[in-house]
Amino acid sequence: MQKTLIALLIAATPAMADVQTAVTDHILPGYAAFSAATGALANMAAQTCDAAMLRPAWHAAADAWLGIAHIRLGPAEDDGRSLAIAFWPDPKGIGAKQQAAMIAGADPMGLDPLAFRDASVAVRGLTALERLLYPETPLAGEYPCRLLTTTAADLAQTARDVQAGWEGEFANAVLTAGAEGNMRFLSGIEARQALFTQLVTGIEFVKDARIGRPLGTFDAPRPERAEARASGRAGRNIVLSLTALRAYALALDPAAGRTADAFDLAIDTASAQPDPALAGITDPAVRLKLEILGQQVQAVHDTVLAEIGTSLNVGVGFNAADGD
């Protein structure tokens, strides 16, 4: 499999250089790292349910996911896998409710990783593990421990599935876009546009969800809507996702200097946020800093559209932009 891929990479035309770099230098290593981190977490969770011992491994897996979470194409999209890895935002608290019900009823699905694959995406993945490792009320009995083991094993399997899907067929589909029989990408520009869309959507997600949801409005800030609230890593998620998006942007267009500058400004601001859990945004001074970050991420978005959209010769789809 790996050999075929390398052969394809060599055969890729110069016009696809941007796409090739993004796939080989960013996407594939990103999935490999995520797969390794979730594998380590699953191994540890098979041996202990001690939350204090497992938390560092969970954080490492979450960090690895943020390095690649913006790629929601093909194997990452099939079977809802990206959502099965991280189910957030969840405005109606579906994940918490369903997980609580599983625990209350000692649902046998939670004891068997194979059966668990058919569980709702809302009760799987990093978000589900966070609730077990940072419970609001202490979890009693054996079931939550076994559910934790199962959830970690399932997450590792999902990570392997995405990695295998990309390393096998999907990287091939991206890199042979427009070739005879390639049903996924009918032209090179279609593949470039798909990769570019991941960048733009990823930036929008940081701005609208990671920053925008807790920000709410000035009169009604919503600290309870911050990401990864239980583990207090909302701010860290913003820094890591911006860092990963910057790397991805420059893989697509190494000459994108204005984009790099815009990212650097936003990453500096994100790193200097006074409140890593974003819980303090009811304080106007704290809130103002997050608002400024939101504006800087918006500037990243606009710069990427203007600079990289132009260099890749892609934009938002003809119909997607119309929206009627």
Binding site: D90, K92, L186, R213, F318, N319, A320
Partner: protein, 353 residues
Amino acid sequence: MATRRAFLAGLAATALPRMAWADVGNPAYIAAARLGDGTFALHALSADGDSLFALPLPARGHAAAAHPTRALAVAFARRPGTYALVLNAVTGQVAHRLTPPDNRHFNGHGAFSADGARLYTAEQRADDSAGIMGIWETDGFIRIGEVPTRGIGPHDLKRLPDGSLIVANGGIATDPADRTKLNLDTMRASIARLDTDGRLMSLSAMPVAYFPNSIRHLALIPGGAALALQWEGDPAEVVPLLALWRGDAITLCDAPVGEATRMQGYAGSVAATADRIAITSSHGGAVQIYGIDGTFARTYARTDASGVAAQGDGFLVTDGTGALTRLTDTGIAVVKTMPLAWDNHLVALDRRI
């Protein structure tokens, strides 16, 4: 008041022998597109998806309606529409240019009566978005009346087999100048069924739990219609984007969470075969297939997918990259690619020859 040009065009249209669709190669579909040189056209396609001819459009189109017998197609401008063109499919000439009365906009869709004697157009009052159905005779395409659609911001409009009409009241009030949405907190979508004279037969509202869901497009199914929805609420909420209107009630059709999110809260077009329903999402680059009862079947990835129409037991899908693809239960296949960008809708010609 008829202009001199409209008067002459009307004369010409009535003086010429009336050509039928068979005289122009029996197209099965019509679809608007932006061509490679930046101009716009309405294409007529064969049942196999070959372009039979293209009629120039002065600006970006949205949807179209085909006369049931005469070779006439009405192309509607995209919202807020100030014109609709009646195109002679034989000559490619504009036979009539329809202009809504003062304080009215066309909303992109319309339908002919079964006998072709009338054209019904979805419109809204410019100042408050109140829904209007315009009624036109089709000899000279003179407006002969209008009725309220009993809702806000109507979009698609379809004729049921019994001749009555259903209108998708999207529920969204928009700024007349720029489509800015004004009432998302209070919007409520509905399906109004009107008789051939525009009298209200029934009004079915979107269930309360799904209020900020707009009904945009319609496809006929046995005993009712499939509704393509666009979610205007919290984008993080996972909501159904397909609904069925049957027996004057609206029921929502869920997809599994991991599949539902691929549509990004947006269903652009809808079509139905005898036993399948398809909805497209240009935003998500996806097409979803459901059973005719609304049971989710599967999702296909297709860049900027937008127009969809039934083709036998499968679907033809048009997209902004210029591809025409065929979707069935078992897979997706490219029928043709052309150097153009297909616009929102692929309209199946419903005619009795």
